[in-house]
């Protein structure tokens, strides 16, 4: 138990500190702002920790969801900035979509662990709970958050345990979309799909259903891509494939991120010596691209420290997951999904392996909304350990 508690507290502390170190060398103002947030949120959440008992969290955690949905609507109506992601009162701004993620985790846990309902009702409800915020953030538009919500729901439902066909479909649909880009890859995909279905022992109607849905996906994707997306939107999504050639903002960002990390080498240029971030060649060095910025100054060794700290953290959550049952297990899996998606999307887009969708790196990126949500998630995990 103590090991788990340490595994939940120490890695985030290390990561927050490393984030602060990098922010210190990017901009003293940003550093102070982030430091004050860390302190305020810690005090706030420590107070909560001692005041609130575990059953309260399990029963009333979903309140977060019900608060965040009106906030999301408010964002759409009175949003600040070009993209309506933030709402604010005076100088304080907040991104309710971050809170929605945690809210969704509680709602899904509570819904799916309800023993009085049938599986079908529970799944339908879970789907509706997911789709409401999904549509709201898509309207902002915030593709990254929308995807995060979907994957959180997917992993939670998977851990809850459903027909393997659904899980399989959820994994195969994105693959079918990707492979439809080229006729050869499409053929290879279907050959592999057919062989998989032959091996599997399943009722024939499920196999036909699987093939039907996937074929529909493969056929419709190119049409959507060609007819419904504007050229610049396509460029944004494919910029990561060839950042040197893309002249748009996304291409420039990931190209400069590559130069930043690559020029850092194994040991890095040294704290404060990064020219990419220091001379503003690397945009968003303090938020989405803090991983690259850190890599420029602290090199491969520094990044490996970050990676292994994350691994210890994730393994601790997975260990908790093994020990839990019911609602608690679902909440833990949701929280794992939340951290894991942010970690994967952020770093892989820094490394031009995924498109840039504006997802922060947990604990390290500058910003209060995601930090508060992350700290609240940890508080929840700790509370479940009591």
């Amino acid at each position: 138990m103590k090991r788990i508690r340490n595994g939940l507290i120490i890695p985030p502390l290390i990561l927050i500190s490393l984030g602060l170190v990098e922010l210190f060398f990017i901009n003293r103002g940003l550093f102070l702002s982030q430091l004050s947030k860390v302190i305020i949120y810690s005090l706030l959440l420590a107070g909560f920790y001692f005041l609130i008992k575990k059953p309260y969290i399990l029963n009333y955690g979903s309140i977060i969801y019900y608060i965040s949905i009106p906030l999301l609507i408010a964002t759409l109506l009175f949003g600040k900035g070009g993209v309506s992601r933030w709402i604010g009162v005076g100088a304080l701004t907040f991104q309710p979509s971050e809170l929605t993620k945690l809210g969704l985790i509680f709602v899904l846990g509570k819904t799916l662990s309800d023993t009085k309902k049938t599986i079908k009702t529970k799944l339908t409800k879970a789907l509706i709970y997911t789709l409401i915020p999904f549509i709201l953030v898509m309207l902002q538009p915030d593709l990254g958050t929308a995807l995060t919500l979907l994957i959180i729901a997917f992993i939670t439902i998977w851990v809850y345990g459903v027909d393997p066909m659904l899980i399989r479909l959820a994994i195969l649909i994105p693959i079918a979309m990707l492979t439809s880009a080229h006729i050869v890859s499409t053929i290879i995909f279907y050959i592999m799909l057919l062989s998989l279905l032959i091996i599997l022992k399943e009722p024939i109607y499920k196999k036909i259903l699987t093939i039907g849905i996937l074929t529909l996906t493969s056929l419709s994707t190119p049409i959507v891509w060609q007819k419904m997306l504007k050229p610049y939107q396509r460029d944004r999504l494919t910029a990561f494939l060839n950042p040197e050639k893309s002249l748009n903002k996304e291409g420039w960002q990931i190209y400069q991120a590559k130069i930043a990390m690559g020029s850092g080498g194994i040991i890095g240029k040294g704290p404060g010596k990064g020219t990419q971030k220091g001379l503003a060649f690397l945009p968003a060095a303090h938020t989405d691209f803090i991983f690259s910025s850190f890599g420029e100054e602290f090199g491969l060794l520094g990044l490996i420290v970050i990676l292994f700290t994350f691994i210890i953290f994730f393994r601790t959550i997975l260990r908790t997951l093994e020990l839990k049952e019911g609602n608690e297990k679902l909440i833990v899996s949701g929280i794992f999904a939340y951290f894991f998606i942010h970690f994967t999307f952020n770093i892989l887009s820094n490394l031009s392996l995924l498109p840039v969708v504006g997802i922060p790196l947990p604990f390290l990126s500058f910003g209060g909304s995601h930090l508060l949500t992350e700290m609240a998630s940890i508080l929840t995990l700790l509370k479940l350990e009591v």
């Binding site: 998977w158 020029s263 194994i266 001379l279 691994i311 997975l318």
Partner: protein, 552 residues
Amino acid sequence: MKPERTLRILLWIIVGIIIVRLFQYQVLEHKKLEILATYNYLKEYKIPAPRGNIYDRNGITLATWKPTFRIMAIPKFLSQEDINSIKTLFGELTINLDTLHQKGNYVQLKSMLTFEEVVKFLEEAPEIKSLVIDAEPVRTYSQDAKYASHLIGYVSEASQEEIEKFQLEYGDFIGKAGCERSLDTLLRGTPGAKFMALDSKGNLIDDNPRPPIEPKQGKDISLTIDIGLQKFADSLFQNYQRGAVFGFNIKTGEVIILYSKPYFDPTNITSSWKEYINNPEKPLINRCTQGLYPPGSTFKLLTALVGLYSQTLSENTAYYCSGGFAFGNRIWLCWKPEGHGTLGLIDAIAQSCNVYFNNVGAHVGTDKFMEILEKFKLPLKTEIPIPGEAKVLIPLEDLLKGRYILPSSVINWSIGQGEIQVTPAWLSLITGIIAGNGKCTLPKITKDEQEKHFNLNLPDEFYNIVKEGMRRVVESRNGTAGYLYDPQLKISAKTGTAQNPHGREHSWFTCFFPNNNPEYVITVLVENAGHGSEAAAPIAFQLVRRFVGEKN
């Protein structure tokens, strides 16, 4: 499989992918990306090297450099407003920014600015990002350099072609004519480089992130001419519009005078370019090496050698001149209407008898004449290291292809008329070959150049006969230049009066001195000035007098 297990495996797969990618970026591609990171912020511009000085043989400066200012900027950081404010101050820019491929490097916007202009610019122009003002060495020429402008040449901004060929940049200067061109690689020097660190918005971070590479000035060059003599030649030409003087040392090849009138002023060549180009007198033509003229009687020296070689002529061959020579149904008149009477070869040279040489030509015959000239293997250019030298036209089969060659052609050739066209420099070379008994060093313009030799291996007596004739041109009372005889000057010479279809005859005079041990050749051409003995010869005498006087 339990989801926990799958997620654990997924975690390791993702981390594995990240580490492989990081290895690629930070280890395998580190060197390349480090350079790219440096390119991002480290900007560099060229510091042009001052050109080497050009001196005359006495160390008098003909060309040097002075500092001016230039403004540079990185186009991608310039707003339209910035460009407009530069244009209103200085007029059109040196470079068309729209045609640039690379807008991330420094380019020169305006050059050759004075200190006052720069101060005004700094006062009036708003803060322009990435702007740099730096010194620029600019070529200047001395007051007297114009007297040797065709030898010195001039510089101006490199053309697109030259930029590609010599890997220059827009706004770089390059020699365009004269020794500025032929010795450009020596004179140009090695440019240096200055480094600037700029951020992504064009703000200056550090104006000395790396020590600059200092430029190396080009090599100084000492020409073999004497600018005083050039200036003196100009004073002798004050009554004539067009002409040329060429002289060189036949033993060392050193050019002692290269004067061409009209000339240009290399200092303001760019501003006066149109004027020079449109001037009907063609001041940009170097008449010494590019002007082609019929040689007239001066060609008789070669005719004599051809005749002697053919064995139809000897020192003692005598012909009678009645004042005209009949061949076929045409008559060629001698310049002396009453005729020279009976003459030997030496007197024929001295008195420049046309009829005598018409006879020599007629006896050799047109085909044989060309055949022998072919055997002489005379160079068609002096190979003087000044760009643009013209090839002469003499009776050789290759050169006369496509023209009508008649049996009577040789009658014209023998007296330097007909198809024949030579340059003053080339004629000097022929005089030099005769003076040196066949051996002559080809002309060169600096001491350091490698000597190139030419040898026309004929019996010495042939040369001695011709040289005796040339001596008598001056020393004999009947000689065409006999009235100028000065016992102080040991000159042997030949006059020429070249008929040409465009007006009065050109006046030629070619000579070598001293008689007994020939060392120097000087050839004077005065366009449309009549008899060689009247216009060209006195100029040559004055030049030799001054040259010999200064030497002693």
